[in-house]
């Protein structure tokens, strides 16, 4: 089949590798909960910096009602979470409530680390 043929072609050739733009912590799976929280907080503050309240963000701050996270931020944020935990997110299986606060995010996406 084609996919196999392409895969075998590809495995013979060298991979292009990119210099990392901003290296993330190496040990994604066994990252400390405190580090995960800090990374999530930094991302939200960075993306919501123009919005009121971003500077006072804590782990219980409601992210949706305050507008710190909007629908249009979610895809980018989900991809950041995937990168952080080293595993894809199946959005069919998650409820919007998981985006309530940093606490619920850690519980919903990083259950092993929490």
């Amino acid at each position: 089949m084609l996919l196999n043929r392409i895969a075998s072609l590809a495995s013979e050739s060298k991979w292009v590798s990119l210099a990392p733009v901003e290296p993330l912590p190496e040990t994604r799976h066994d990252m400390e909960p405190i580090e995960i929280r800090a990374q999530l907080r930094d991302w939200i503050v960075e993306h919501a910096k123009a919005k009121p309240g971003a500077a006072d963000l804590n782990d219980q701050t409601p992210l949706l009602e305050t507008g710190l996270l909007s629908s249009l931020d979610i895809v980018e944020f989900v991809l950041f979470i995937e990168e952080l935990r080293g595993e894809e997110v199946d959005t069919d299986e998650i409820e919007p409530e998981v985006f309530t606060s940093i606490d619920t995010l850690v519980e919903g996406f990083f259950a092993n680390a929490a």
Binding site: L3, V16, L18, V78, T91
Partner: protein
Amino acid sequence: MESSDELAVRLTNLSREQFWNVYEEFEWPEALDPERYQMQAELCSLYGTELWEDMTEEQRKRLSLYEIGNFFSLTLQGERPLVAGLSDRLYSKKVSSEATEYLHHFIDEENKHMIMFGIFLNKYLGKVYPEKKISLGREYGKGEEEVAFFCKVLVVEELGDYYNVKMMLDDSIEPIVKRINWVHHRDESRHLGFGRRHLTELAEHWLPQWSDETKKGFSDWLGQYVRSSWADFYNPTMYKDAGLEKPYDVRKMALAHPATAEHRAKASKKLLNIFLRLGLLEALPAM
């Protein structure tokens, strides 16, 4: 000028004349030809970047398979809420009876497109790329939801059509891909005609009733919506499937690269000009 109801009647007649059967329209090859590009090189999301320059021809062709997979998946994923929203408007006061008649064809054609993309994706990639969107709901002012819905329709259809038109004329790519793009464009040219006209009427009706604050809020949202629609073209899972290392960094690099920004600006020009002309966008958003 033709009224929007006259346009709906004319488009209905055209859809009936060109009525097609998705199960008879295509001869699906057993496998795609790995010697060919599946998606036109210039349309691949890394085209113009240093990473693309460093890739071998084989690697580029391999990427082009997942690029066409991502593009067809994005189109299919965009058609799902489109069909839901159009169905919602059938026989309602939101549209005329002539428009309802045409929406039956619009929905029928979009349903066939989803079948067509679904067959391609399952047969040659073994999957449809999922969307990462989660709907959080939002509060709308009067008329905003209606205008926003038809703006979203125009975004998915105008951007998609830019790609369709490029690929439907390209003999170098895989023939079945060329054909799908051609079949899609044939229906889309009617959808776009209806969508542009309908959105124009909605904008003319609602914009004078909106406060400056509402207009500004809508314009900001729309600019962001176009940007986030573009970001979906740089799918890390697609890069991973193509065998590229550090797929999340590849996405960030590609999105930030001036060559891809130039491509996005060019491909969205028509769409953004419509929004500007109607007053839905107050300024051109950064790409």
